[in-house]
């Protein structure tokens, strides 16, 4: 039963990250795509936490969804000028 709940949660998170990746590729607005990439990272970090890898989850959460998103936005702003 416990195993089943874990599998179900992991599948939901996996599907969410696939949807995020699809939005990131196919959305015509670049800002939406960047935020979708950040969401994929966030979901991935929760998934790592579920799979008992808190070290990796911390790295993914802080670098993937915070710093990378910020740097993407800075770059986008620079390109638009």
């Amino acid at each position: 039963m416990d195993n089943f709940i874990l599998t179900a949660l992991a599948s939901v998170l996996g599907i969410a990250s696939i949807i995020g990746a699809y939005v990131a590729i196919h959305n015509s607005k670049l800002t939406v795509a960047i935020i979708a990439t950040g969401i994929v990272s966030l979901v991935a970090s929760v998934l790592f936490l579920l799979l008992a890898a808190p070290d990796v989850a911390m790295t993914e959460a802080s670098i993937g969804s915070a710093l990378t998103t910020a740097i993407f936005f800075f770059t986008l702003n620079k390109i638009r000028q």
Binding site: P54, D55, M58, T59, S62, I63, A66, L67, A70, I71, F74, T75, N77, K78, R80, Q81
Partner: protein
Amino acid sequence: MGKKTLIVLLMVAMAAVLYPLYESYQGSEQLTELGQYYADNGVQDTGAANLVTSVVVTYRGLDTLGEVTILFLAASVISFFLSFKKEDRKESREIRNITEILTTASQVLIPMIYMLGVYIFVNGHLTPGGGFQGGAVIASGTLLMFLSNPDFKLSHKVIHYVESTSGVVFVLIGVLGIFMAGGFLDNRILGLGEVNTLFSAGAIPVIYTFLGLKVGTELSNVLGIFVESQNEQ
């Protein structure tokens, strides 16, 4: 139409190729030989309660040195290319006035975030986390500083000195390991202490502190370079 059908066909073919892998997968109940060794002897060898840390810093310390080098190279390349074109670095940039609420609140939040980062890398040998994670948290605190206080400037001199000093100290501790203990980056140059206390695990907390400082300053520097080339419209 042809292209989309091709993509769907390709995906179906991929699924057909990969499905037997899923079908025949059996989770292994036992650790591999190497993993078994780490699990059995890691705590006695290194004195670190967090086994991941003992692997990352001690057993595979050389790989960590390689990772740090990669990060350093990436930061250097970014700063080189973004400061290369003089016309990109503007004298000043125009931004919107920042709300008082954010400015006031960040004065409480930024020390808290920095403290969390320091906590993460100082306790790297006891709890999950370590130099890289703590450094990234510190850099996100710096990001909040940039966002909440437009007059804030990173001192490139301080960043430069902190970064190079921590890199050199990291390598020096590794070299000390050759002379005073079993080999490069051996953590037994300091006493192992009692497992699960703050001052334990030999040189691991020292290494992680300098690693955290190095990663934090590098990422902060990258952010600072990006911020300086902005001009909001």
